[in-house]
Symmetry: C3
Amino acid sequence: MTTTVRSSSPFLSTFPGRYYYDPAIFQEEQEHIFGKMWFYVGRADALSSHGSYRVVTVASESIIVMRDKEGQLHAFFNVCRHRGARLCNQESGQLKGSIQCKYHAWTYALDGRLIGAPNVMSDEQFDRLAYGLLPVALHIWEGLIFLNLAENPQPFEAQLNDPRVQQFGDISPYDRYQIGRLKVGKSITYEVQANWKLIIENTLECYHCGPMHPELCELIPLYRTGKVFADEDFSAGVMLGEQVEAFTVTGKASRPPLPGLLPEDTRRYYGLLFLPNMFINLLSDHVVVDTFQPMGPERTVVISDWLFDPDVMARPDFDPSDAVDLLDLVNRQDWVVCELTQKSMASRAYRNGGNYAPDEHHIRGFVEYVLEKLRH
Amino acid sequence: MTTTVRSSSPFLSTFPGRYYYDPAIFQEEQEHIFGKMWFYVGRADALSSHGSYRVVTVASESIIVMRDKEGQLHAFFNVCRHRGARLCNQESGQLKGSIQCKYHAWTYALDGRLIGAPNVMSDEQFDRLAYGLLPVALHIWEGLIFLNLAENPQPFEAQLNDPRVQQFGDISPYDRYQIGRLKVGKSITYEVQANWKLIIENTLECYHCGPMHPELCELIPLYRTGKVFADEDFSAGVMLGEQVEAFTVTGKASRPPLPGLLPEDTRRYYGLLFLPNMFINLLSDHVVVDTFQPMGPERTVVISDWLFDPDVMARPDFDPSDAVDLLDLVNRQDWVVCELTQKSMASRAYRNGGNYAPDEHHIRGFVEYVLEKLRH
Amino acid sequence: MTTTVRSSSPFLSTFPGRYYYDPAIFQEEQEHIFGKMWFYVGRADALSSHGSYRVVTVASESIIVMRDKEGQLHAFFNVCRHRGARLCNQESGQLKGSIQCKYHAWTYALDGRLIGAPNVMSDEQFDRLAYGLLPVALHIWEGLIFLNLAENPQPFEAQLNDPRVQQFGDISPYDRYQIGRLKVGKSITYEVQANWKLIIENTLECYHCGPMHPELCELIPLYRTGKVFADEDFSAGVMLGEQVEAFTVTGKASRPPLPGLLPEDTRRYYGLLFLPNMFINLLSDHVVVDTFQPMGPERTVVISDWLFDPDVMARPDFDPSDAVDLLDLVNRQDWVVCELTQKSMASRAYRNGGNYAPDEHHIRGFVEYVLEKLRH
């Protein structure tokens, strides 16, 4: 198979096929991307009281996130310091003031300190401070919890403001939507049989919107052209169609706009990617946060949370389905083509990768971003 | 474990055990045997009209075989030239004049030319001829479709007439049976938990026929002796037993002989192996084509097609079961022992392989044929 | 992640995490431990008459153990010497004087000699003695069958009396219990999702008994302290509690003591590990033999056999459940924590292993024993 000479073509090349299925590359990504970058794991409001915990996965590691007696959030490796037994084996729950290993009853405070170890604690030689739970760096931004497994994590803001990340969106509208104040009205988990990078690439171009998303294009007519991301001006979002009231399956508004938005926000859609694993959709009356969890070279779990104004949610007739059904449909349409693409990645015909059309050329920035992290 | 010194024994050795389970050797076979030889994928008459297509697998590649408007057959990698999405996701179907990728609507003619690419086709820089579907070499022989993934495939006839291949049969009787004119009366797909080479070796000796196939030996008494292949004269086929009318479970003939056979053909059985993946059984009133599809080091799919004269099939009382039941029984008997053999391949006791008995010594030619292809 | 400097700590380190999940290390263990040591496979009395056979697995090898006409037990690789087919495909059964391969009818006597090979046996060049079934060394001790795959196995007694093995128990009480005379009253097979070494380590310390096994501690109050193995005097066993009559869920005795015990045996529990794959529990009225079968790096099958006096078993009201239920409960409690521990083995937090508390320090001997066998 000869490679197309691309210098004389209008195309920039994608990753070579092996980046989408090779377990060794997946392992490198786990170490150099997911093991070193701030990784979104869930909302702070899900841990409402002291002793609340959730177990999350970051770069294949099981991590406990819990709230201590002072209301402070902490994250720790879910591994007993004695013989290694997993401490919390449920997805979430409520601790009574401490966390105890089932195996030999070593006991830790909610802030991770070792406070009990039968037949050892009394030993004078024993520096118990050295045997607390191993901590993981934690940062809250807009009510969202980010973890970082690195020993010396870069500051969260450095990642957020990385010019390369900003290339994939603009954070300026965020603070107006007060994401931390909103509540989850609906959450859907998807299993996608595709490499996480195929999903990211899918979020980064709208060249597929015309063929794939007719319902979405009804709401945002500009998407039919496929030109959206090609001009690289993301900060202003995209306009809903003239007759469209809201980003719902009917196109009608059934909820008031979120408080605090600018007038121009209410008829706009902002979609912004936070590498490595989150995408935020900002709409007039709701926000959707998508989390991408790479489970294996050819498998990704996506969790979509639809967020609403808690005052609106408190109304007896609150019904999020007109908002949920739209992006849920769009999501499922996208997973179909991500999975069809995954099927070809190991083909001789994709050994040297494929081609980004001119309307997709800026995705190439993502390719370079990943290659730089992997030092390839 | 010491190896038996074979120079003083009547035995030739088989492959060492690892050839039957090592994924690396399987990979080499995919590249050097199945990726470079003509590989049988199905009958041309299964693609009856223009736009008909089938998706087949050759050396782990998904390939589309389709018939264009002029009635010409073509084979292409099932991979969009843009971002790689699999184009056809069904086993077979009917296209309406073109083939369109779901993802971004790139569109190809039935002969593979790119005829549509939104927002790209108008680009003057874009040499659309360079972005047609990647073709796979295709050859029709006796109505059977063979594909070859090599960039510069050897001529089909060179493979057919390879003296080494002829060692495993003789093609002279073929043209009399007019296989392309016959039709499939019954097709059975088997999943065998064994390496493809164990199945090939099973077809290459009749030393096992006495112990394994009593019903078959009723029809062909010579098979009881196990001497069939040992004398290396295959061209004349083997005679049915004196009281046997036809190759059926009852031994009775229920269909007329195929037209055009020689008188001596009607009471003979010819079994011929076409390396790497087909075996043809020629009988007086039907033909059986077995296809071997290596799916993994320890898993092979076998498809057996029973072919009959279309004039006979058109009769209202046509019933293929007396023919089908016989080889179906023999097939199942063979899969049992192939699977029992597979179970020992990784044993210390088989590290240096096993022994071909004198009645099997010519199978050793197959071993050498494979080793030569793999350059081992 | 920095490693705790252990020289100034009261802890000895466990294996690094990879020893519990790395397939390459598992493979080395299969070769250097399970492929070279005497491995317990079952009771001799299970093969009651000539022609009885059982198929067992040792270091991934399928081995036939059978009793010949003279009553002698033999073990052979379950692999035909001709083309390698597995000979016996059932877990156990009864042979009629010989064992015949399904594929080409090669036939072996119960002592392994090749006694039939169609079309070969008459060949003068054929040294049939060289093609008998490949034997595996077999030793009977106390009615228990041990196999050894090594070409030149060390004497069984050398393994039994290895001072390192004795560190994990003392064989002196054994002969009093006459294990070979007892019969299996109940057998339970467990699937444990944990490396075999985690299970061995679990048997080697009672630091976990207090938190994990309250019912067991009712019977043996000393176990609550966790100090049992720390003082390294195993030969005397441990005493049952003052009010405890027998090692049953009720603490009541429902069977007479086994004949031949010393008075002090009847209120004692002896637990002894026979590396690499057996643990024996000696009680006043029964014996429990646990066998560990490593199936993969993260999966072990455990078989527990409860043995009783055959005279007691012959009584119409014989009911083993008060004995069975106790260790069955303890077993299941242990598998829970072994599986929780397995889950952390690949964590960054366990890369350098964990810590043996002072009450567990002698398990470190097991670590060194394994490392020595693997020459690590």
